[in-house]
């Protein structure tokens, strides 16, 4: 289980980094080609498609590494049990929201198959749309793992053997 998840996060990071670099390369090449009077119009389109996937994969990476900003000033004044309670409440609301994004994003990708990507017939915009439900599913997995870690810290779940 642990190694499977490790493999997944590794793949996610490599994919996100590749997309960011590909996006940069595409925009760069697009500019050069236009300067040489042979405009390549597909570079911009492919770059924005990479952008969507990179954004949501990176969002998961940021969430896992606690890089999403929050205002903790109020919560930190609470006594510890209340603080932990707030943490679980946060995770619960976020998990519900992410479930909703997975469902509505997935449904949107399915019903809007006919929408073409940038007007290119045969290329569906659903390839872009799918980035959100996939990203939200990864964020959901990360959230659930955060819940597990929190439960272990609170002694509600037994700590995993690897960590002990």
């Amino acid at each position: 289980m642990k190694t499977v998840y490790g493999l997944l996060t590794r793949t996610e990071a490599i994919l996100a980094a590749t997309l960011l670099l590909l996006m940069t390369a595409l925009i760069f090449v697009g500019g050069l080609a236009r300067m040489m009077h042979t405009p390549l119009n597909w570079t911009v389109e492919l770059a924005t498609c990479c952008f969507a996937w990179a954004c949501f994969l990176c969002a998961d990476i940021a969430w896992r590494n606690n890089m999403l900003m929050s205002i903790d000033a109020l919560v930190e004044r609470l006594p510890k049990p209340a603080r932990r309670g707030m943490l679980y409440l946060n995770y619960a609301i976020i998990a519900c929201f992410l479930c909703y994004l997975v469902y509505s994003g997935g449904w949107l990708a399915w019903i809007s198959r006919a929408r073409s990507f940038q007007g290119i017939s045969g290329v569906s915009y659903s390839w872009v749309t799918a980035s959100l439900p996939v990203g939200a599913a990864l964020l959901l997995a990360t959230t659930l793992l955060k819940v597990r870690d929190a439960l272990r810290q609170d002694g509600i779940l037994r700590p995993s053997r690897e960590r002990a």
Binding site: R34, P39, L108, A114, R115, Q118, I120, S121, Y125
Partner: protein, 304 residues
């Protein structure tokens, strides 16, 4: 008590443009005629969202409308894209007839039943598009190797390629700096676009090719439209046509006034364009996009 309906209508134009005023006029007429039963709120400058997004919302039954064009509708019913082809329609009067043609009606029915998009009317003519460049263009060869900013839809790109230029996709906001820094050599737009964005500061020539007459389509959700009482449906459609034809006339006047403004600002108008050569060149776009048959059918019904 009578049932209340509200339609939120989205378009990309600036509130001061004749089209934008036309939509507000349409909304007012509909509300008056239905005695407030059908209210229309107009959102200018694409405030409600990206055109393609709105069309998807419409397909899902939202009480939202959008001003769009044949190229975008062509993504759903391929034949409709023909209206956006080079030299397809030459006058606004011909454009007003489109909605009554059997072929167009058939394609619009397909759009409504298969894709949930109801065309309310197509009587909004934005005017003729010309090439704006920094060297005079009189024949297709003059466009050779010129990078012309073109909207990103394939029909558009093919049309511009057929006419001899290199179509270059670029967002609207990048046109001005793109021209200033010579990332592109020109654009194809209507006169009011030039004055609205002050593109005359970076463009010298207006070449009156008139290669595309841009016809706008007003669309709403078919699911929502079918729920309206019949007299509301009629009011919405008839007032759309009336307001659209009035706005089209205003657009034509605005184009003339803007042309005068541009001459005063020092822009050179090239009017001795070899139109026959451009029309012949435009044929390639129809062949490439398999729209020759669709055009033949519409022309037959138009009596052309």
């Amino acid at each position: 008590a009578q049932q209340q309906f509200t339609l939120r209508f989205n378009h990309v134009h600036n509130p001061s443009e004749p089209n934008a005023k036309g939509f507000v006029n349409w909304a007012k007429r509909v509300e008056e005629r239905t005695k407030g039963g059908l209210k229309m709120q107009v959102f200018h400058s694409a405030q409600l969202g990206v055109e393609e997004d709105i069309i998807e919302q419409i397909r899902q039954g939202a009480a939202i409308g959008q001003n769009t064009d044949a190229a975008r509708l062509g993504n759903y019913v391929k034949e409709l894209a023909v209206v956006n082809g080079p030299y397809f329609i030459e006058t606004k009067e011909d454009a007003f007839k489109l909605g009554n043609l059997e072929s167009i009606k058939k394609w619009q029915d397909e759009l409504a039943t298969k894709h949930g998009i109801k065309v309310v009317c197509s009587d909004w003519v934005q005017g003729k598009r010309n090439f704006f460049t920094n060297k005079p263009v009189r024949k297709p060869e003059d466009l050779a190797s010129l990078r012309i900013r073109t909207p990103p839809a394939p029909i558009w790109q093919e049309s511009i390629r057929a006419l001899g230029a290199s179509p270059t996709a670029m967002s609207f906001g990048d046109i001005y700096p793109g021209l200033q820094q010579q990332a592109v050599d020109g654009a194809e737009l209507v006169y009011p676009n030039i004055t609205a964005s002050n593109l005359n500061e970076v463009l010298k020539y207006a070449n009156e090719t008139g290669h595309i007459t841009l016809v706008n389509f007003e669309v709403v959700s078919a699911q929502w439209f079918n729920k309206l009482p019949e007299e509301y449906q009629t009011a919405l459609v008839e007032e759309c046509k009336a307001a659209g034809q009035a706005a089209s006339a205003a657009m034509e006047e605005a184009a003339k006034a803007d042309k005068e403004k541009l001459i005063k600002a020092g822009m050179t108008i090239v009017s001795d364009v070899d139109l026959a050569a451009f029309k012949a060149a435009g044929e390639k776009a129809y062949e490439k996009l398999n729209l020759t048959e669709a055009r033949k059918q519409v022309y037959k019904e138009l009596g052309r």
